[in-house]
Symmetry: C2
Subunit: 136 residues, 2 copies
């Protein structure tokens, strides 16, 4: 593979650094359970939920992504929505969690426990405290 070897090692590492920063920041589908958690506490709407997601550790996100996820969640029956026009600003689509959504949240919590074990395994190996594990 002597095709792009004009890049030196440092340049590659920089490239990988960017890639690591982008690709790993957000695991797939985590927004859904976190949104459900928020809606379990109180009904809310996209613009407000966006701010709360940011506080949860999702970096500044594109609004379009969030709104699209919310609509998909409604199609899946996890949440229901109604228009709220009594407020001051523009009309808001206020979401509520459904029974199905709460059920989904329970299933998801089980999966998260698995994540946790994987995370612990990773750090146990990464920091060098490898259990035993012998070669083939």
């Amino acid at each position: 593979m002597a095709e792009k070897d004009d890049k030196d090692k440092k340049a590659r590492e920089e490239e990988l650094r960017e890639k690591a920063g982008k690709a790993n920041a957000r695991p797939k589908n985590w927004m859904v359970p976190f949104l459900l958690l928020c809606l379990r506490e109180w009904n809310s709407y996209g613009y407000e939920l966006m701010e709360r997601m940011t506080a949860f550790g999702f970096g500044a996100m594109n609004p379009g992504t969030l709104y699209r996820v919310l609509r998909q969640m409604e199609r899946d029956g996890m949440v229901s929505s109604r228009w709220e026009t009594s407020g001051d600003g523009p009309a808001r689509r206020v979401y509520s969690i459904t029974d199905v959504g709460e059920a989904y949240l329970r299933f998801w919590a089980d999966s998260l426990e698995q994540y946790r074990r994987m995370t612990d395994t990773f750090f146990r190996l990464y920091t060098g405290r490898s259990p035993e594990r012998e070669e083939e």
Copy 2:
């Protein structure tokens, strides 16, 4: 939205249960750091790595996915490979981690710490208190 209300609640929950089981089991891109972690210990090949991934908590995975990820990692310069034909069975493509791969692993470990905080936040909200985790 009285379009698909012929489905009763139970059917929807079942549907969501399937969805939860599939969609959440594996966060995006976790295979890469775990593979790098394995290859840091000793060089290995796809078929063997697949078994080790299973042990890490990735359920039985499709071989095609793993092989495809490995080739992509090589294109990214994280690993290098050579054919091993001295063994008994068919030839194996044996992978080794590169300096770039080790660097990527370091960046990734930092991101993983963020995951951990997100996970803790989730359970703190979900169960109402912080989960029992022994800190080092």
